[in-house]
Amino acid sequence: MTDNSLLKQYQHQPGVWDEMFSQDGLREHYSNFVSAIEGLPPLEMTHKDETAKKLFMSQGITFTVYNSGEGIEKIFPFDIIPRIITSSEWTQIEAGIKQRLKALNIFLKDIYHSRFIVNDGIIPAHLIYSCPNFLREMVNVEVPYDIYTHVAGVDLIRDNDGQFYVLEDNLRTPSGVSYMLENRSITYRIFPDLLPKNNVRTVKEYPELLFKNLVSVANRQMSNPTVVLLTPGIYNSAYFEHTTLARLMGIELVEGRDLIVDNHIVYMKTTKGLEKVDVIYRRVDDEFIDPLVFRPDSILGVPGIYWAYRKGNVSIVNAMGNGVADDKAIYTYVPDMIKYYLNEEPILKNVPTYDLENIDQRKHVFANMDKMVVKKTNESGGYGMLMGNSATEQQMDEFKKAIEHDPRSFIAQPIISLSSTPCYINGVLQPRRVDLRPYALCGPDGINIVPGGLTRVALKEGSMVVNSSQGGGSKDTWVLA
């Protein structure tokens, strides 16, 4: 039984766009990859799968899932079949994301200063001020180069028309980039030579680019700024990523308790005494970052850091208060932002979204709830979500009640039929749904998007939830040159 039959056995799903197969057969950009593996005996593919798992385990590439209070270390599931994107598709994605992030950075500057977009009636004021992540503390605070989001992950999905849509923006502390780097290094070990043969663009420049951007936002009088990465610590589910990035950039990995603020300057406690810190790449959420200003019960943050930041004595990446721009209700206005700030048509479209504060739209959503996804506007990780097509009557009723009680906290979208791609599961190629999260770096010199990003897979059959905390996995993403 050769791999050819593996492919032949692949079950197409009606109404779903498949990444590898079109109606007429194998898509051209997959032909090189497929011809390389089709001669392989099935045991060989299984061997590759097992090798990949062993490599992840021995390198400690794990994340922590919290279940009933207990943290369990798990290997981030990895599927060996890469997801391939053509260079023309990528050109569109890249341009679309750059445009979007440019607008979002201007938006953040605008609402924390002059609020033109509100005054001109484009976005309703109450929507901004009712967002729990809008920080009054950030109003009129100057940030270097007016860049608020330096590291952003924009989630894209492909609908059954083959077009990419933006599912959501992640402008605060997007994670997963270390898996993008590790996936690539595992792929070239299990499929030697395939990457150069397919002309796949590299992703390894990410840490250098990030470091360059971090250095450039330091106070201009420093020639050799001290850059650190602030992590919540080893119990955080993304700790592996923090330590990988710190190691690849050659910067110090600090926790809140390693820093101290004296006279509005941030220092770190070293064996040689206190050393000044200029730039902090922080992976601690806004509300935990300063117990004197935000949550007073936080021990992950640094007391007084907000005042040091406000004074301009330390630069923080990403800026505080970005949550207002990735709020799912504000998301519906991003195309308007692009038109308003840039005077351009959006290159990447949003997924149609219903405003549940609007009575008519709410009625429509309630009537068609089984075809809708209902999400909380300010949660992440796939929590607080209702998938209409697999929810029970009771769950739908609970959500309806919650929506009526607080419509601002919810949005609804029609269930998009995410594209599928073959995954090697239990010795058979099976279709699973995927999304794409490219990572963008915004610096004073412009916006760089590393070609590829993380393709997240919903490993459970029939599921469309790709988040790692909900049993999702990832694939290596190839962008062809």
Binding site: M57, S58, Q59, G60, G233, I234, T243, T244, A246, R247, E252, L253, V254, E255, R257, D258, M268, K269, T270, T271, K272, G273
Partner: protein, 311 residues
């Protein structure tokens, strides 16, 4: 270097050295227990290496299999080799950016090995020496990886200070444990073996017989394990290494802190170097060992206070 990181990496090294010590002591004592004519008691080892009460020790001390399991694999025993390896690995996990990827992977492999491999079974039902050897092999791999891949930077210095501090404590403890044997008449061959086992525990048997041609005289043994400057497990050797490594920290230290600790280490080292212990006066020997151990502990706590920010 961040104080927290220095603290963590120092303790990583101490845990690894302690694991090695426990494993070798267990291995040697197991062989001793099979070799002797009378009932071999594990009491001295259990007193030194565990927090068990005298009653609990009393229950276990003649059950070799139970003791081995307790000292090496018991997850409920905070001082078991298993828990030390786990702790070392957790330490390494939280300072991954200060050790090389190879060292991290090595410790991660050690952790998975001791957790997953059928060591516990081999220890209980099979050949305990093979089981211990397999575990110790992982420790040797760790030592080699550190030596081969790590830059000789601050982190490396703290690791070595931790390692040699722990080793000095181990040797001191081992000699104290065997103190009872030194006062006995050494001409009697039947008593010889316990001193032999002391040498095995400290990896010093071969160097001893090369130097002293097989005559097991207590004073010679003391010469080797306390004063010999070429024997890597001797107390003086360890202190000299600590002194040398600590000097490297001068450029990265606050001047007063450096001077204070430098003085303390030098004083401890010289107290050993310019002493003259012998087996004929066990009380003096016991006092000397106690004082040395206290001084070594003081080095550790001063380091912790001045360099790691612990009060």
């Amino acid at each position: 270097m961040l104080s927290r990181v220095a603290d963590t990496i120092y303790w990583l090294a101490r845990y690894m050295e302690r694991t090695n010590g426990i494993l070798q002591a267990s291995r040697t004592n197991f062989i001793a227990s099979q070799d002797g004519l009378q009932e071999f008691g594990w009491r001295p080892l259990l007193v030194t290496y565990t927090d068990l009460s005298p009653e609990e020790i009393g229950e276990m001390e003649y059950d070799t299999s139970r003791v081995l399991e307790y000292l090496i694999m018991d997850r409920a025993n905070g001082s078991s080799a298993f828990n030390y390896v786990m702790q070392a690995r957790e330490n390494a996990r939280s300072i991954q950016d200060h050790i090389t990827k190879e060292v991290w992977q090595c410790l991660n492999d050690y952790y998975h090995f001791i957790r997953n491999a059928n060591i516990a079974g081999e220890l209980k039902h099979g050949d305990p020496v093979s089981a211990i050897d397999m575990i110790m092999r992982q420790g040797i791999l760790y030592t080699g990886t550190v030596d081969n891949t790590m830059t000789r930077d601050e982190g490396f210095t703290y690791m070595n200070i931790g390692k040699f501090l722990e080793r000095a404590i181990q040797t001191t403890d081992m000699v104290s444990m065997k103190l009872g044997e030194f006062s006995k008449d050494t001409k009697n061959i039947l008593e010889g073996p316990s001193m032999r086992y002391l040498l095995y525990t400290l990896f010093g048997y071969e160097i001893y017989i090369k130097t002293y041609k097989g005559n097991f005289i207590a004073d010679n043994i003391l010469q080797l394990v306390v004063y010999n400057q070429h024997f890597p497990h001797s107390i003086l050797y360890c202190l000299e290494r600590i002194f040398k490594y600590f000097e490297r920290l001068q450029a990265d230290s606050v001047a007063e802190n450096f001077d204070q600790l430098n003085f303390l280490i030098g004083k401890t080292m010289n107290n050993i170097k310019y002493s003259n212990v012998n087996a004929k006066d066990p009380e003096m020997l016991s006092g000397f060992l106690m004082q040395t151990k206290n001084e070594i502990f003081e080095i550790g706590s001063t380091l912790s206070k001045l360099y790691f920010g612990n009060s």
